[in-house]
């Protein structure tokens, strides 16, 4: 695989993560209460972490990439998209986060299906795996704190 193709894909993923950082920054401005801002700040910090991971990947060779897949428990599939609003509660913010990760995951899965090139497939698989891990993190929080009784 030409190096340019590899770094283009990583750049694409990086752009998405940076957009996510921007998105949560904007949400912080919309939010009205300290509890919302604290959580949004934490999620934003995680997205910044993802940016760092991807930047590090740029300096690595594609062969060094490790693919980790997390099973999809569909915990957020049937949840309704929450809208950013100044009175968002914990549940709303987690739903927003899960849905974003869900969409990113679906995008990389889609790209994965569309390519036959084994090296490209590996990168998309890695990126899809990363997104599903992030989604799973929020799903676990949702399970534990939003629906402890269900």
């Amino acid at each position: 695989m030409p190096d340019t193709q590899y770094s283009e894909i990583i750049d694409f993923a990086l752009k998405r993560e940076k957009e996510a950082v921007q998105f949560y920054t904007e949400l912080e401005h919309i939010a009205q209460f300290a509890s919302q801002k604290e959580l949004l700040g934490e999620i934003k910090g995680m997205e910044q972490g993802h940016v760092k991971i991807l930047e590090n990947l740029k300096t690595k060779s594609p062969e060094a990439i490790r693919v980790e897949r997390v099973p999809n428990f569909m915990a957020s599939t049937y949840l309704v998209e929450a809208q950013p609003a100044k009175d968002m509660n914990y549940q709303d913010i987690l739903i927003i986060a899960m849905k974003r990760e869900d969409r990113s995951h679906a995008l990389y899965e889609e790209l994965l299906q569309q390519t036959e090139n084994p090296e490209l497939r590996k990168i998309f698989e890695m990126l899809a795996g990363e997104e599903s891990k992030h989604k799973r993190f929020f799903e676990d929080l949702y399970d534990k704190y939003v629906q402890p009784d269900n």
Partner: protein, 620 residues
């Protein structure tokens, strides 16, 4: 010289030709009988270090000692019996009484050593030749020195229960309470498991000795809600009770209730009074739930001037507006609250503290009884008082988050329970689906049954995973509540023919995916196994969140909020030295006794903070 004297030496010499009388290899030649009581063996994993063996030993031959590799855990003191064979008389009382049956005796009785110290050892901790011996003494099947059976609590029959909200548990008589108290071995293992570390063996002993006031005084040392906790406590103590290993745990919660029921209300104040001098410092408390009132009680005992601000027209928090009357009658809750108030704690009801800088009046929804005066803001309290404690709970119900949930026939479990407390009749109609498997779901379901509804509980996981108390689930079943487990909510539809009068609840069957030890399995929706059921009312009861909007942003940053919860230290300290917090908004267990314990610890923290402040002022 007689002839006998002459012949005797010859008789002795004759013995030399006979078989010797001494046992040359005694260990092999003279084994103990099969059930002989020889050196002890102890199954270190099964033993919980309760010390009952030590207590019963008449020769003081047993000491409970720390053992390397054995940790103190919930339900295990981390100690193990050490036996002194210079004192042991091999009576086996220790084996007969052992609460876990971990202690037994081998049939080995011979051990030769020149060092007397080695005859004092911890069975099971040091390898001994008899450790694997099959023979010896153990308690015979069915033979019990301890009574394994709990005295049954009289309860109303399910049919009678459904006719009203009358309390279903009727309480022990004096005779029953004494009989139950007699089963306790006073080991104290339960005390560590109780979040408030109540002196359980102490008040159980008081029942045995018919010292009700003494028992009540002991309870008030760590818990000013004995009448309430005696009914609805999550009784974590009973799970670890030593007797639970081979029989039913002691009914600790019911015994607590017995004392609270028996104590004369007129004696309460005398029992709980202290001689602390009055102090001038003022403490504001937000929330008259168990957390807030517990802090108020202990601060008042220390002499502080305490004012509690409560949004609702009555105190008790979720104990009143969540837990239904058939589990905790209001007069019993009031008994606990009245004692706190009677000590001089001022409780301002209908007063919702808000985050606004300027004062505002009570909300219209705060109900009657409002004095119409302005409710202070959080900032005002911060300025006007020497310390602030808040325990505002988790009032906001989370939604199912699925499509169609804004259907008019969806009503949250918490709002149903709150309505019933406020004397309103929730509009439930006939068929009701309650979604969730916790205590709120059980309370909502059983409340709906008492209002004549047909109730189905739908829960995403298996019955064993339900967070509700086992007895609540059993009682709900007895009362005719149906359960559908492994049912994942998918969406709520409005069938055209139902015209908003009924909700079509769409749910799918779940397949459980194991997540390893100590983690709840994950329910995964099977999209090809979808069901639709029509209900008059759908009641989500899956969890609640905090409402911290009353804390202004600049203050919140200092206090420290993590994931919508308040971050506190051991004594309820927040990041702002003058502000303390506790109860459901900060702890993990989210039950009444944990909130009470938080309130008590925070009172100690506030006391320390105010005293340090005072001494700083005096030295400056």
């Amino acid at each position: 010289m007689s002839l006998k004297d002459i012949l005797s030496p010859l008789t002795v010499w004759r013995r030399t030709a006979e078989k010797p009388y001494t046992v040359i290899d005694p260990i092999n030649d003279r084994p103990g009988a099969a059930r002989y009581r020889g050196f002890h063996k102890n199954d270190m994993e099964a033993c919980i270090g309760c010390g009952t063996c030590e207590t019963i030993c008449q020769n003081a031959a047993i000491d409970l000692v720390p053992v390397e590799g054995i940790e103190t855990t919930n339900g295990d003191s981390g100690l193990r019996p050490q036996i002194d064979y210079g004192r042991c008389c091999w009576c086996a009382l220790c084996v007969d009484i052992c609460t876990t049956s971990s202690l037994t005796m081998s049939n080995e009785y011979i051990w030769v050593d020149t060092d007397p110290e080695v005859f004092r050892f911890v069975p099971g901790a040091e390898n001994k030749p008899w450790d694997n011996s099959e023979l010896g003494y153990s308690r015979a099947e069915g033979y019990q020195l301890l009574d394994p059976e709990r005295v049954e609590m009289p309860e109303l029959e399910p049919d009678t229960r459904l006719t009203s909200f009358i309390e279903m548990v009727q309480g022990y008589s004096a005779e029953q309470a004494k009989k139950e108290a007699d089963r306790c071995v006073e080991c104290g293992i339960c005390m560590a498991a109780c979040p408030a570390h109540m002196d359980i063996p102490g008040y159980i002993k008081a029942i045995r000795e018919n010292d009700i006031n003494g028992g009540l005084a002991l309870m008030y040392q760590t818990n000013p809600f004995p009448a309430s906790c005696g009914r609805i406590c999550t009784h974590r103590c009973e799970e670890v009770c030593a007797i639970n290993h081979t029989g039913d745990p002691i009914a600790i919660r019911w015994l607590k209730r017995y004392i609270a029921d028996m104590a004369d209300e007129s004696d309460y104040q005398a029992i709980t009074k202290t001689a602390e001098p009055e102090r001038t410092e003022k403490v504001a408390i937000i929330g008259a739930g168990p957390g807030g009132l517990s802090a108020a009680y202990y601060l008042r005992l220390l002499g502080y001037q305490v004012t509690v601000f409560e949004a609702q027209p009555h105190g008790g928090g979720m104990l009143r507006y969540g837990i239904p009357e058939y589990r905790l009658p209001y007069d019993q809750l009031d008994k606990d609250i009245d004692l706190v108030a009677s000590l001089g704690v001022e409780i301002k009801y209908n007063t919702r503290i808000n985050g606004l800088k300027e004062s505002n009046g009570p909300k219209e929804s705060d109900g009657p009884g409002s004095d119409g005066g302005p409710a202070p803001s959080f900032e005002q309290l911060y300025q006007d008082y020497d310390a602030v404690f808040f325990s505002t709970g988790l009032p906001d119900p989370y939604t199912l988050g699925i499509q169609g949930e804004d259907h008019p026939r969806v009503i949250s479990g918490i709002s149903i329970l709150e309505d019933v407390t406020a004397g309103k009749t929730p509009d439930l109609r006939k068929s009701v689906a309650v979604v969730g498997g916790g205590n709120v779901a059980m309370d909502a379901a059983r409340t709906a049954r008492r209002m004549g509804c047909e109730v189905t509980v739908l829960y995403r996981r298996r019955e064993v995973d339900m967070p509700a108390d086992e007895e609540e689930i059993t009682e709900a079943k007895e009362e005719g509540v149906k359960f559908i487990t492994q049912a994942i909510p998918v969406r709520i539809e409005d069938k055209p023919e139902a015209k908003g009068e009924q909700a079509a609840f769409v749910w799918g069957e779940a397949e459980m995916v194991d997540q390893g030890e100590d983690r709840r399995p994950k329910p995964v929706l099977q999209e090809d196994k979808i069901h639709t059921d029509l209900f008059d009312t759908v009641v989500p009861a899956i969890g609640q969140g905090s409402s911290l909007d009353f804390i202004p942003e600049d203050m919140a940053a200092k206090i420290g909020i993590i994931k919508y919860k308040i971050k506190v230290g051991l004594h309820g300290e927040t990041g702002e030295p003058k502000i303390f917090a506790g109860g459901d908004i900060s702890n993990r267990l989210k039950d009444a006794i944990s909130a009470i314990a938080d309130g008590h610890r925070a009172a100690k923290g506030i006391d320390r903070y105010l005293r340090e402040n005072q001494s700083k002022k005096e030295t400056s």
